[in-house]
C-alpha cells in the first residue's frame, strides 16, 4: 500500500523542479487522466528506476506535451522561439527534469541515514500499466494548457 504522503510529495517535487529549472508555472489538472492520455502517442515520455536500500523500487514516468517541452528548452537554453530543437535536446532535457523530480521525491522519503540509487532514464512510449493500486498519477497544465504528467509506481523485489 502506498504511503499517504507520496501523492503530496510527488506533486511538490514536480512543481518545484519545473519552476526552478524552467521558470514554468504549473497548475494542477483536475480533468480525468484518461482524457489527457488520449493522444499519448504524440507525447514525450521517459522512465527511470530508483532503488532504495530495503529492496523497494520506485518507477517514475514523465509524460510531457511536445509544445511544453519546447517551451521549457527555449527557457532553459535562452533560445529564439523559432530555434530548431533537436531530438537530443529533448531527450537531454526531459531526462534531467525526471532525475531532478525523482531525486527530490526520493530525498524526501528516504531516511537521512540511508543511501538511494538512481538509474539512467530510458526513453519509452507508454511503458507501464499505471492503473494499479501501487501507482500515482499527477497531472499538471501550463498557463497555455499544455500537459505534463508524472506517473509513479512502487514495487518490491522481495
Amino acid at each position: 500500500m502506498l504511503n499517504d504522503n507520496y501523492n503530496e510529495v510527488l506533486r511538490e517535487s514536480v512543481i518545484e523542479a519545473i519552476e526552478s529549472l524552467a521558470f514554468v508555472q504549473l497548475i494542477e489538472n483536475t480533468e480525468s487522466l484518461a482524457a489527457k492520455q488520449a493522444d499519448e502517442t504524440n507525447r514525450q515520455t521517459m522512465l527511470s528506476v530508483y532503488q532504495s536500500v530495503n529492496n523497494q523500487y520506485y518507477l517514475f514516468v514523465l509524460t510531457i506535451s511536445p509544445k511544453l517541452l519546447k517551451d521549457i528548452i527555449i527557457n532553459i537554453f535562452g533560445l529564439d522561439p523559432e530555434a530548431l530543437i533537436t531530438p537530443d535536446m529533448e531527450k537531454d532535457t526531459i531526462s534531467e527534469l525526471l532525475n531532478t523530480i525523482a531525486g527530490k521525491f526520493m530525498r524526501n522519503i528516504t531516511p537521512e541515514t540511508d543511501i538511494f540509487q538512481l538509474g539512467l532514464p530510458i526513453p519509452e512510449k507508454y511503458p507501464i500499466d499505471i492503473t494499479s493500486n501501487n501507482s500515482i498519477n499527477c497531472s499538471f497544465e501550463s498557463e497555455d494548457g499544455e500537459t505534463i504528467i508524472l506517473s509513479f509506481l512502487e514495487f518490491s523485489n522481495k
Partner: protein
C-alpha cells in the same frame, strides 16, 4: 561555510546532460565564478582525459553518468598524486545526508543537491572573489 582555494581560474563541469552543464555553469557564474574559464566533460572518463591535458582548479561533477560515474571520477582524482589537490564539488539528484557523508569520505569538498541554484552555491561557499 566551506573554504575554496584562493586561485580558481579553470573550472571543469562534468555532467552527461548538456542542460545540466549549462545550468551549473550559469549558477556558478552568478554565484561569483564569473570571468573564469569553463570546460565541460560528459562523464568521468572524459573528465579524467581533460584533467590530464589542462590545469584544472576546480571540478564540479554529477554522480549518475554513463561510462564512468561521479564517485569513480572522485576516487580517480583523489588517488592520483598529481591531481588529488583539485577540489571536487558533487552536484547530484541523489545526494542526501548519508550520501554526503560517504562522498566526503571519498574526498569530496562539498555535496549539493539538484536543482542547484546561485543561492545554494553562495550558502555553501559564501562570497566568492
Amino acid at each position: 561555510m566551506i573554504n575554496l582555494p584562493p586561485e580558481i581560474n579553470t573550472i571543469l563541469v562534468v555532467d552527461d546532460s548538456g542542460m545540466a552543464r549549462l545550468i551549473i555553469k550559469q549558477c556558478l557564474e552568478i554565484a561569483g565564478f564569473n570571468g573564469r574559464k569553463f570546460l565541460e566533460a560528459i562523464n568521468g572518463k572524459d573528465a579524467l582525459e581533460k584533467i590530464a591535458k589542462e590545469k584544472i582548479d576546480l571540478v564540479v561533477s554529477d554522480l549518475n553518468m554513463p561510462v564512468m560515474e561521479g564517485t569513480e571520477l572522485l576516487d580517480n582524482i583523489k588517488i592520483n598524486n598529481e591531481f588529488k589537490h583539485i577540489p571536487v564539488i558533487i552536484i547530484s539528484s541523489t545526494s542526501n545526508p548519508a550520501k554526503e557523508t560517504e562522498l566526503k569520505s571519498h574526498g569530496a569538498l562539498a555535496v549539493l543537491n539538484k536543482p542547484v541554484s546561485p543561492a545554494s552555491i553562495h550558502k555553501a561557499f559564501g562570497n566568492i572573489k
